[in-house]
């Protein structure tokens, strides 16, 4: 076996002052404001006491509605963006009540290297004081029952916890709360 190569740089917490360096004014907009079909995904980040986390940052990454990524490592090759101005990436700090909100469109399903199909989803990173590394979760959609049932990632999660990865429909979009620790703790992935 070949050498491992250069050793990786370790992670450290973002600390309490990430708001100095990381938020962008347009960060929450995965698609431009006013994009047809756009909706909000919003929620509250809470800690092990159920208290809101007012100094977290949420980042999301997703395919476009056709299930494509404008990225050279997508082996299916380039595709014209399905939505003008689609960025795929969202970033939002939590407010004083622990709330975040991004504006996006629904991603398409994705082929999986194992030969299956992944249900529409967003990958999510959560950064906060108290987290020495990001924690990673996924947002799935509640009205994709058949696709979710066939999703290989959801299938690997114990059934009683899968609902922590599925957003809840609400007027104007979806709600997805993130419980970092304890009661009904959100499923986090080792990425």
């Amino acid at each position: 076996m070949s050498a491992q190569g250069l050793p990786v740089t370790p992670s450290q917490t973002v600390g309490p002052y990430l708001a100095i360096g990381l938020p962008w004014e347009d960060g929450p907009f995965v698609v431009p404001e006013g994009t047809p079909g756009a909706f909000a995904i919003s929620g509250v980040v809470t800690d092990g006491d159920g208290a809101p986390v007012p100094d977290a940052l949420i980042e999301t990454w997703q395919a476009d509605p056709d299930g494509r990524f404008a990225h050279p490592d997508d082996p299916r090759g380039p595709a014209a963006p399905a939505v003008p101005g689609f960025r795929g990436f969202g970033r939002c700090p939590t407010d004083g009540q622990g709330r975040y909100r991004i504006v996006t469109v629904r991603p398409g399903p994705l082929p999986d290297p194992g030969g299956g199909t992944e249900a529409p989803h967003l990958d999510v990173s959560v950064f906060a004081r108290g987290l020495l590394n990001r924690v990673v979760t996924r947002i799935y959609f509640p009205d994709e029952e058949a696709a979710n049932a066939a999703d290989p990632v959801l299938a690997a999660v114990e059934p009683g916890r899968r609902d922590t990865l599925v957003a809840v429909a609400e007027p104007g979009g979806f709600r997805f709360d993130i419980r970092l620790r304890g009661d009904r703790e959100t499923v986090f992935f080792d990425v």
């Binding site: 990786v8 299916r76 992944e118 987290l131």
Partner: protein
């Protein structure tokens, strides 16, 4: 609309994943760091295979960055107080390949150890000429360069007489969701290292040393600024999938 789910050659989608180095990052459960006791998850992490969403990622380009964003000392009419420094290095992957055109974001305290943030009530002065945030894109060889001032140490109430060693926060994207990294760069010879539960949350002492920049006289500019170099290594790709993929062809 039906998504095109076909792999390129009609066969199975070939996706090399990223390496998963063990023992590098701090455990989320690090009770010496008090804030982790309320916030670190209790349940074990669920392994996530590296599929399309994970091996791609945001490629945030020059539309987000101007050349002036990498100099934190020229944002105001006057110059900030403190020791002017140059911080430069390369972003590489663990295969030794440079990571070009990737966004690097930094933020830090001022020379007195005070952050420009409403929550920071450390009784040290704010500097009207220092905001403490910078950005740049790496060049074609993965290099970044910032001009700033050396941040001060500051107290943080984690335990009695707790002080953070001087540090600059770094945020990196790489080219894939798997490569995202937020970390801190420290300065050589800091007497606070042995007392700091955040620095010491990294289990391997050698890995800790990789967060400490090197003072470099060759980067130091006469009559102007001290130079520090610091390379950042993001996880690289697994080679095994490529090897297997070649067998049937």
């Amino acid at each position: 609309m039906t998504a095109d789910l076909r792999p390129p050659a009609g066969g199975r989608l070939i996706l090399p994943g990223y390496q998963r180095p063990a023992g590098v990052h701090p455990p989320l459960d690090s009770p010496e760091y008090r804030s982790s006791r309320q916030r670190a998850p209790l349940r074990p992490l669920v392994p996530l295979p590296h599929a399309l969403t994970e091996v791609t990622g945001p490629l945030l380009g020059s539309e987000r960055v101007t050349p002036a964003d990498s100099d934190l000392t020229t944002r105001h009419a006057g110059e900030p107080l403190g020791e002017r420094i140059i911080v430069t290095g390369r972003v590489l992957d663990s295969g030794g390949r440079p990571v070009p055109d990737t966004l690097v974001e930094i933020w830090q305290a001022n020379a007195a150890g005070r952050y420009r943030h409403q929550v920071d009530d450390h009784p040290a002065p704010l500097d009207p000429n220092f905001d403490g945030a910078g950005r740049c894109l790496t060049d074609s060889l993965g290099r970044f360069r910032f001009v700033t001032i050396k941040p001060g140490a500051y107290p943080w109430r984690n335990h009695l007489n707790a002080w953070r060693p001087a540090h600059i926060h770094f945020s990196l994207f790489g080219r894939a969701f798997t490569q995202r990294l937020v970390t801190q760069m420290y300065f050589p010879g800091d007497p606070l290292f042995r007392y700091d539960p955040i620095f010491n949350s990294i289990p391997d002492a050698k890995a800790r040393q990789r967060l400490i920049a090197t003072f470099d006289m060759d980067l130091t500019e006469p009559e102007w600024a001290l130079g520090y170099s610091w390379d950042i290594v993001l996880r690289g790709r697994e080679a095994t999938v490529f090897e297997n993929a070649g067998e049937g062809r």
